[in-house]
Amino acid sequence: MEPSTTQYAAAKSAEVDGGRPAALRLSGLHKEFGANTAVDHVDLVVPRGSFFGLVGPNGAGKTTSLSMAVGLLRPDEGTSQVFGVDVWSDPVAAKTLMGVLPDGLSMPERLTGRELLTYLGQLRGIEAGVLAGRVQELLDVMELRSAERTLVVDYSTGMRKKIGLATALLHGPRLLVLDEPFEAVDPVSAAALKAILIGFVASGGSVVLSSHVMPLVEQLCDTVAVMAAGKVVAAGPLAEVRGDTSLEQTFVRLVGGDEHTRKGLSWLAS
């Protein structure tokens, strides 16, 4: 374990917030699939107003943790609280507070982007006039206007991310939980997404995103947690977790990359 652990982050956040509940607090979250422990008693605190990056190698348990945090996967043990509201005992209240972008899940595939957003808005009970304006603005910002007649099933991977993010933002949440939001998104769209997220945090919102692109996390996030093999191995403010090195070097050191991975292929060496 690193010196800067979850306990540190927890203490820090309590101090900063003066006792107000954190944006997201995971306590002892645990999940096993058969004999495989995907998430091993994870504690995490996302302070209010923070831009929180959850990093880890493939299979570290990031997606499983975030799914349990937002109420899409039932934990074996532990709790998840959004601004002090328990996600599993008071789901309705918790779900109005957050916007979620899961990775790799289907959406109602046979709708256009506009239809999808409109129906979701109606389901969330947003008033018609407000809704139409928001949908239009989201489609403009996400540059999905040119694909007006395209069904979601025919969207490219990047477009799927964007429409997913739009559904997460539609109802004006105070916490965004985004699983790999930048994967397969082109640089231009990524810049637009970053601007949206940074603006969201600047106006008091909180963001949790998972990624395995270290420079991106370093660029955006002020707080990070590193997961490996279902456990949180380091967490805290970015500067403290990475110390004097880059986040990437810290990450490789913590997660312990294999020697073979750096050798290359024998027959391609010239």
């Binding site: 937002v70 899409l72 996967l73 779900k95 899940l105 289907s106 239809e115 018609a128």
Partner: protein, 621 residues
């Protein structure tokens, strides 16, 4: 090339020979062998009019060919697909020949080859010359069906993702259901008619024999008559056709994968926010209706019950029986339940949006309304049109008492089974172009077929009482009672589905995310290895389950209920009904035992299913 491809195919088959798939392969092989034996038997049978035999044999070969055309649509894509090899630096014609070689390795080809031996036995009855000629011709015929199947599948793949293609798939699928369930009616018709003595009409014979699959029979017959010109010309024509097909296929192989047929949405304007379809409930109904309209899988789901019902009631017209016609509407409403029983799985992990918005209640109710909006119009139209056409006016109250309860009961049952009996399938955004490649709901459909008969029972009982006691008001009371039953069943079962979805939504989502063995293996690498024991049990279970459904259906209906009805109604048709081959005194117990065994196998299949669910490591507890 062919050698490597064949070894590759064998490895794939070996790895895929697990559980239910192996069971179905076995069942398929057994039925194939029976059909092959029947074909050979047919070529040896003595008929009063021998020329009919050639026509019958040509017809049977036509059925083999049809099987090869439909088979791949039913069974999904070929084991080795051409697009797996597009990046290999191999000329496409060589690849085509190699893949063709690999295509010949398989149970289906072996069984078909056996069936085509009938051409040789048929030739042998006409002399040594025709018999010798029949050997290469039978081989050529085999090459023809394999190639034809490949080419048609390749071409079909282009349109399958479109709605038209999905509708065609649905029609073919339904046609196969009609033939397998009610095909015996045709056999009965042929046996009842005097075709076996008088032969087919001249037009029928000429038409039948001009189809390429009959050219083998044409050649052998010509050789038997000593008409050697035609005897050589017919197989030569077949060979030319084969070459053409190979050419088309190799060209098709070289084509880059075409863009899918895209279905476009409406532009510019937001969907209506007010009126009837306003509010959360309206949002779900219009979302569902758009999905029914735009998703090829839903197109198939909607087309299958309609064609299945029409086919079933129209088939008896082949022997001028109108008795089934009035039941088109009720049949449609009943079959729709078996077809739409897995709605949530069809939309896959999109369930997360229902969970994050907390709209489980409106979602279930919206889906029920959409189901009713999709299936009520065709069921009502079919009921009115077919009762009127049949002229059997006494059926009006019966049909009126059946349809509303079947539709309403269906709306309840599909919601219930989509949630409680959800079978995970390919996720909505990864679904391949073949609309038949979906979750296997054979078990659910079988159960729902019978359970679906229950909701109209009270209303039908009233009609029966009314008819017996000659009280017209009682007879017509069936219709309103049916409406009430339908509403009640839809309401109650939908309510149960809502409760389950609200309580266990995340678990259902998890099942849909990982419930497929392939995905589980990728996602949680080590889990499967460690759970191998448990998974094996489940696989064995599903093999037993598959066999039980298949055999149970055969024992219950064609070997049980139908011969029993025939014996009791004194209809003397043997066909393949075992109980009809003995004296009625013994026939009745045989049929009854068969029915009991069928029911027992159904029970066993259900038990295995329940058992599997409890044991399966992938199923959330």
């Amino acid at each position: 090339m062919a050698g490597v491809l064949i070894r590759m195919k064998l490895s794939v088959i070996k790895n895929a020979m697990t559980g239910g798939r192996a069971a179905w392969m076995l069942v398929g092989a057994v039925f194939g062998l029976l059909f092959a034996a029947a074909t050979i038997w047919l070529s040896l049978v003595d008929l009063p009019n021998q020329s009919v035999l050639g026509d019958l044999l040509a017809g049977v070969f036509g059925m083999w060919t049809l099987g090869w055309l439909i088979g791949p649509l039913w069974g999904g894509s070929a084991v080795l697909r051409a697009d797996h090899f597009t990046l290999l630096p191999v000329p496409r014609r060589r690849l085509a020949v190699g893949l063709l070689g690999a295509a010949f390795v398989g149970i289906t080809t072996a069984v078909t080859a056996l069936g085509f031996l009938a051409l040789i036995t048929y030739g042998a009855r006409q002399g040594l010359g025709p018999a010798l000629l029949a050997v290469p011709v039978a081989a050529l015929q085999l090459v023809f069906v394999v190639l034809l199947s490949r080419v048609v599948y390749a071409l079909f793949g282009v349109v399958a993702a479109s709605r038209a293609g999905a509708a065609i798939t649905g029609v073919l699928f339904a046609a196969m259901l009609v033939l397998t369930q009610s095909g015996w009616m045709i056999v009965v018709a042929v046996m009842y008619s005097d075709i076996l003595e008088t032969g087919f009409s001249h037009t029928t014979t000429v038409t039948l024999r001009s189809i390429p699959s009959s050219w083998g029979v044409v050649a052998v017959d010509a050789a038997g008559r000593g008409d050697w010109l035609l005897a050589i010309a017919a197989p030569a024509g077949l060979a030319v056709l084969c070459l053409l097909l190979l050419l088309v296929w190799s060209v098709e192989l070289g084509n880059p994968r075409r863009g899918r047929v895209t279905i476009r949405g409406s532009a510019g304007r937001a969907p209506a926010g007010g009126g009837l379809l306003g509010g959360p409930g309206g949002a779900i109904v219009s979302k569902e209706l758009r999905t029914w309209w735009r998703d090829p899988l839903r197109t198939t789901t909607a087309v299958v019950p309609i064609v299945w019902a029409l086919g079933t009631v129209l088939l008896p017209l082949t022997f001028d029986a109108r008795l089934l016609l009035p039941w088109a509407g009720p049949a449609l409403a009943l079959f729709a339940i078996t077809s739409a029983c897995n709605l949530y799985s069809q939309d896959g992990t999109a369930l997360w949006q229902t969970l994050t918005t907390g709209t489980q209640r409106v979602d279930v109710r919206g889906r029920q309304w959409a189901y009713l909006l999709v299936f009520t119009p065709p069921a009502v139209v079919a009921s009115i049109a077919f009762v009127w056409w049949s002229g059997l006016t006494w059926t009006w109250p019966w049909v009126a008492a059946a349809v509303p309860a079947l539709l309403g009961g269906g709306a309840g049952l599909i919601a219930y089974s989509s949630v409680f009996g959800m079978v995970p399938g390919p996720d909505a955004h990864k679904r391949p172009s073949n609309p038949l490649e979906r979750a296997d709901t054979t078990g659910q459909s079988n159960v729902l077929f019978w359970v679906g008969l229950l909701p109209p029972a009270p209303a039908l009982a009233l009609v029966y009482l009314g008819t017996r006691t000659d009280q017209p008001w009682l007879t017509w009371a069936g219709a309103p009672v049916s409406v009430l039953t339908g509403v009640a069943v839809a309401w109650v079962l939908g309510g149960l589905a809502i409760r389950k979805l609200s309580a266990d939504g995340p678990d259902l989502l998890h099942t849909m995310r990982t419930g497929r063995p392939t995905v589980a293996r990728n996602a949680v690498g080590t889990t499967v290895a460690r759970n191998a024991g448990g998974t094996d049990v489940a696989k064995k279970g599903s093999a037993v389950e598959g066999l039980s459904w298949g055999l149970g259906s055969i024992l219950l209906i064609p070997q049980g209920v139908i011969p029993l009805v025939f014996i009791l109604a004194d209809i003397n048709v043997k066909s393949w009904f075992l109980a009809m081959y003995v004296r009625p005194l013994y026939g009745v117990p045989i049929a009854v035992v068969s029915i009991l065994a069928g029911v027992a196998l159904y029970g066993r299949a259900i038990m295995t299913k329940v058992d599997n669910r409890a044991k399966s490591p992938l199923h959330p507890s």
